[in-house]
Symmetry: C2
Subunit: 372 residues, 2 copies
């Protein structure tokens, strides 16, 4: 059953940008604004208050331009050429709230929209667009004290490389030189990298706001690259995450504990991940339970009570997904864990699929539960 | 004279990607390797040991594909379509060593090469390619202790925004909680942003290597966005940098002095910048000499002895450019400053124009001279 669930979860990735085709184009409100992820000064792509996305790219001599966003597997949004040489078009229906990856297909070639910023997903830097969510306030950039996001480079003997991670330190971290903090190791999904949780996920802003609102005690977040042994899409079950385990637990954790003021024990160390990062979290926490006390799977598989028959017991478990994924199985597993006496929490993000708004909300829900 | 020189400097930006057209294509060595700035797993663009660049993009139904790199103002490198639908081509001559921005023109539209990473320049995220320099060792990622690069978000009352900067802290910064460090404020050029000195410039790796080799005493570098009031290209003489001065000197410097262990006085604070960032450095250091003791102009104008008739005297001055820019004027000004008794150093980067290898080398030359 668990295997089946994971398959569903990972397949959902490819369908994640589907829109609701039931809306007729003449219902579209003409209140389009530039997407918040546009390059400086760029007007397009735009989004309206209903969640429609509108595109405009100037490629005067192209034969065809299609946007991969919208209409799910049915070919995306075809743009139409105007007399000014610009190709324009609007999604057939409103998109789900939150962040979406996309790209252009120009005359049969895969290229990015020059109007918007790029985000690493699908093993390439893709275009990104943001459909304003009704609850976007929790990840907004506000006038509150801000933590720092540090790029660190650490030596990895097991892979003979200098590797990169990003470390979020809370706003209070520089205030005194004595206080030590718990650490959450937070993993991205398949085809993404260590930039995803900051760029697409706004993990730092979510933390800044939670801390400013007094909803959590501050902790550190560490985000690194999890595709160490290059798992291929569709071959997730062959993935042992053994190579990544060595990098994460035996190399990165000691580096972080040496260079940051951490509380360096299992009770103050959590691991969580989205999608493939959840898969990794499950594999690594079940093998290396001595290193992590709190576990989070965000659209990335489930724990069952049987998982903990041997080895150290989890201090806390969080599992989540979007309501358009597999909410029943997440709820079932969460309730089973609770019934078995585990401190477990399940959460379903309303109206979202296998995408970043699910995971932003999941982090927001999970953070207050950690290290308690 | 100074005005004329600055004009030359800024115009050079547009010609910066010119290649030497004297080489015949039949001299090309077939030892092409993927550019080090390619996206993960991407073979193209490639570069050979002579500095030729070769491109390949799959856009089967395109009418024309041109790369802006190569042949200077004469239309770049036209790609030719093969039977497999891929467009390929090689620059007519070898490129200058180092980093170059470029883009594709596909059927009249400006798009990025999907093979390579993007870098913010010309007020857009451009494609980037790296021609390996003979002296690239000084900015290579090596197995040495690495400093961190921190993204900070600071509140700016003068612009009513939350603004971003990056802060390089040296490897030893976390070793003890008492040591305080000097700070260099380092500015990007026109159309670039606060990411440029790390992404294109490898400033952090240059510092890591200098420190590992014992060639400098560690210091902090702060890099922020300098186009606060949106100076338009070609209107540089109308640019007062007054708005930016308020953000930098009255808002960012206090933030950094509060959140980092700095030596918070003029004798331990430097300002330097490349191109427009040099222009800003000159304007701001001459108005706010009480804040900065060391000044650096990298392909960004000159100081003359008369500049310091009034106000605080500089503790050290560094001016530089590429040998393909205006080396005689840099040398003249440097010698005039020395003759007038100033602690001034001038430097010319051999074989480079108004591009990042000039500035990487300039930082490498300037860093050991600061805070002495």
């Amino acid at each position: 059953m668990k295997k089946e669930l994971l398959k569903t979860t990972f397949c959902a990735l490819a369908l994640a940008c589907s829109s609701n085709g039931l809306w007729a184009q003449n219902d579209i409100k003409e209140d389009f604004q530039p997407s918040t992820l546009n390059q400086p000064g760029q007007e397009y792509p735009m989004v309206n208050s209903q969640g429609y996305a509108r595109f405009r790219v100037l490629i005067p001599d192209a034969q065809s331009v299609t946007v991969s966003l919208g209409l799910g597997g049915r070919g995306g949004t075809k743009l139409v050429k105007g007399t000014d040489g610009a190709w324009t078009g609007t999604t057939e229906g409103p998109m789900d709230e939150g962040f979406h990856y996309y790209h252009l297909t120009v005359d049969g070639g895969v290229l990015n929209d020059p109007g918007t910023l790029n985000f690493y997903g699908s093993c390439r830097w893709e275009s990104g667009i943001e459909i304003p969510a009704h609850d976007r306030d929790f990840y907004a950039l506000k006038k509150v004290p801000h933590g720092h996001v540090q790029q660190i480079l650490f030596h990895s003997p097991s892979t003979s490389t200098e590797r990169r991670a990003f470390v979020y330190t809370p706003p209070c971290y520089d205030k005194d030189s004595q206080t030590r903090y718990p650490v959450l190791y937070l993993q991205h999904g398949w085809g993404e990298d260590e930039t995803a949780w900051s760029n697409q996920g706004h993990a730092n802003l979510i933390m800044d706001n939670l801390i400013a609102d007094g909803k959590i005690k501050p902790f550190i977040i560490v985000m690194t690259y999890g595709m160490t042994n290059d798992v291929k899409f569709g071959h997730i079950y062959e993935f042992t995450a053994k190579e990544f385990e060595a990098v994460l637990v035996d190399e990165l954790v000691p580096y972080v504990d040496k260079h940051f003021r951490t509380l360096a024990d299992r009770d103050h160390r959590a691991m969580a991940g989205l999608s493939m990062g959840g898969f990794e979290t499950r594999l690594i926490t079940l093998r290396r339970g001595e290193a992590f006390g709190y576990y989070g799977l965000l659209s990335g598989g489930l724990y069952m009570p049987d998982d903990f028959k041997e080895g150290p017991q989890p201090k806390g478990i969080f599992i989540s997904c979007g309501s358009k994924e597999n909410p029943d199985k997440v709820k079932e597993a969460g309730e089973a864990l609770k019934a078995a006496g585990y401190k477990a929490t399940w959460y379903v993000s309303e109206g979202t699929a296998h995408e970043f708004l699910t995971w932003r909300r999941s982090l927001y829900q999970m953070a207050p539960l950690l290290f308690k």
